[in-house]
């Protein structure tokens, strides 16, 4: 618990808990129920665990992986009671989340050594890219960083206006060339703006696009290249925003966006809904991309850095 407290102030913890309440009550309390009164892992329990994981969008492959590992662990460690089984299961899930060899970030701080720090945000339509950018800018601003938002979604109706409102709310600078302009040029010039105006962080919004549209994915690669052209090595972070409501298609999204832009981090939105967000396990497992942020509510403050231990802890607490 002390570990948990280290990263989450009281209200943050409440948000996360509130956001995950549904997840908690549906996944893990069920597991606890299933385990209660049983002294070993039987087929019935594993069946139930499988049902629970799958109905949480964990996906077949990862579910099988979790179950296999749980069984192996149990065989190794012999006897179990409910508590022990719970903690083994927890460990198995944390391990899977840890396999991408990344360390959770502790707070909203860009890594040192890259200044300005350029973030490019990508994802399919309607996952919450712009909202996530607004919340992220707000967090950075609160920590004293100077942030500029670049409106490279020049396609969707009123996207530029939407980002502009978020820039105002989060006291960030705003760079735009208007609607229907070349997004690669906006990205390039936002980077330039950040460099010339002493910004610490630039966050570049892009239009939502389905990962199956080749031209649009090519365009995204081009946007990324244009940033690199202005500032070699940038963007330093390509953030793929995923909607917790999405099912197995999120895996396809991760695959294609990674191919086009070499995604370096994930943000998982809408975790305050009734969706279970189990998709995180599958993607972290298959693509070795760390989850960096989670959206747990509509409010400006309701974006948090992802912490796997705290995440799993809070699921079990």
């Amino acid at each position: 618990m002390s570990f948990f407290k280290k990263f989450f102030s009281k209200d943050k913890e409440e948000d996360l808990n509130k956001g995950l309440e549904k997840t908690k009550s549906s996944i893990f309390s069920q597991i606890t129920k299933a385990v209660a009164g049983k002294s070993k892992v039987d087929v019935e329990f594993l069946d139930q665990l499988e049902n629970i994981l799958i109905s949480s969008d964990v996906g077949l492959d990862t579910t099988v992986k979790i179950i296999d590992r749980l069984e192996a662990k149990v065989a190794e460690d012999k006897y179990l009671n409910t508590d022990e089984l719970n903690s083994i299961l927890k460990k198995v899930i944390i391990d899977i989340l840890s396999e991408n060899n990344t360390v959770d970030i502790e707070d909203f701080d860009p890594p040192t050594g890259t200044h300005p720090y350029i973030i490019m945000v990508v994802g399919v339509n309607g996952v919450g890219k712009t909202t996530t950018i607004g919340k992220l800018a707000n967090q950075y601003h609160k920590k004293g960083y100077k942030v500029v938002l670049g409106a490279a979604d020049t396609f969707r109706a009123a996207a530029v206006d939407q980002l502009k409102i978020w820039a105002e709310r989060s006291s960030s600078a705003f760079f735009s060339k208007g609607m229907n302009t070349d997004p690669a040029a906006v990205a390039y010039e936002t980077t330039q703006y950040a460099q010339n105006n002493g910004m610490d962080i630039a966050i570049i919004d892009t239009a939502g696009r389905l990962h199956t549209k080749i031209q649009l994915m090519d365009e995204l690669s081009k946007i990324k290249r244009s940033i690199d052209k202005k500032y070699q090595g940038a963007p330093h972070e390509v953030l793929l925003v995923l909607d917790a409501t999405t099912g197995q298609n999120a895996i396809e999204q991760a695959k294609h966006f990674t191919a086009a832009t070499n995604v370096t981090a994930l943000a998982l939105t809408k975790l305050d809904g009734s969706a279970k967000g189990g998709v995180v396990l599958g993607i972290s497992d298959q693509f070795k991309i760390p989850i960096k942020y989670i959206g747990v509510g509509e409010g400006m403050e309701q974006l948090q850095v992802f912490n796997k231990r705290a995440f799993v802890e809070s699921l079990f607490s």
Partner: protein, 446 residues
Amino acid sequence: MFENLSEKLESALKTLKGDSKLTELNIANSIKEIRRALVAADVNYKIAKEFTDKIKDKALGTENVLNAVKPGELMVKIVQDEMTELMGGQASGINIKGNPGVVLVSGLQGSGKTTFSGKLAKFLKDKKAKKPLLVACDVYRPAAIDQLTVLAEQIGVPIYKETENKNPVEISKNAVNFAKTNHHDVVIIDTAGRLSVDEQMMKEIEDIKNSIQPTETLFVVDSMTGQDAVNTAAVFNERLNFDGVVLTKLDGDTRGGAALSIKYAVGKPIKFVSSGEKLETLDVFYPDRMAQRILGMGDIVSFVERAQEQFDEKEAERLEKKIKKNKFDFNDFLGQLNQIKRMGDIKSLMNMIPGMSKLTKDINIDDKAFVKVEAIIHSMTKAERGNPDILNMSRKKRIASGSGHNIHEINMFIKQFDQMRSMMQMMSKGKGMDKFMQGMPNKPRR
């Protein structure tokens, strides 16, 4: 995973040949495979189970499964038929009778409500000769009203908005009155996205519904939604008793199991399918196509539609003339390649063709398949691209070194290109097709 569902079922059932009939025991594996396929397509776990239980009963009651030449295919057909029936039923169009007819559009954040509202308005205006009014009731999301305003302008439909008013119940009421006095026969109310667990917001949309008594309430859902689709749909249905479902973003590669889950859970018809951001792409729902999609069996209609999307009539005419004169050149070829590439990634395209998934599952087709060809063409001069016949040995040598291939590969490619060209010419001359087919070992019949 399910590209080979019928194959898997084939092998699961093969061992049964010789058994006189299906029993619960001997089709257990097949049922399990079907269930896994459904779950991988995002059909809700519980529903997949109930549905496969149904299939089991149906299969057990079918005499000839084991005697069939391909019992696996027969099983898949049973599944497909059952699914089609389940998702079909009375798709009764939308009710916009009334003075005015009122359509209330609801759904989660990011499901595509605003885009759909615009599409529906355009559809009613162009296809049904209506005079719709769009109403902006999303007072929460930044620039949501602007977004609808832009869409309304694009399709030439008036919009009703109250930028200072933060009460969507009032706005919607005023909008309906405005429509009455201004002779709009349909009102389309775009609401804010809301989570089903957000009591306050759910109460709000309930209040909107009660105060304006819409003739049609629609629930918009993202076709990529996972297991949660059922819960969300159930809550919205409980609160709003909606009349129908709109499935959005079907232009992606999602299997769309949510469609089955929602229909199963709330029993309301899927009325529209919305794919793409072009305001023209609103479509009615075809249960049979959806069933095939969920089962990963290919969707030839979508394939043709995607091809049509890229089809340019003038360009086609121009090409035909060139082909007839045997003037089809490398530039045209490159253009064709690009057109194919624009339709989507090759493998997913191939998989849309029924039966093709069997062929493609072992072949690693990716879009790099064209890279070699493109490199060769790009290494040609303008003159060479426009006049394939001028390619002599020294030119070929230059192209080879320019594109990083050996001369043999260049020759191969040019030979293939020539063959293709003469084949196209033959076919375009009309008599060609028959002659061409005669040469084929297995003349397809239709």
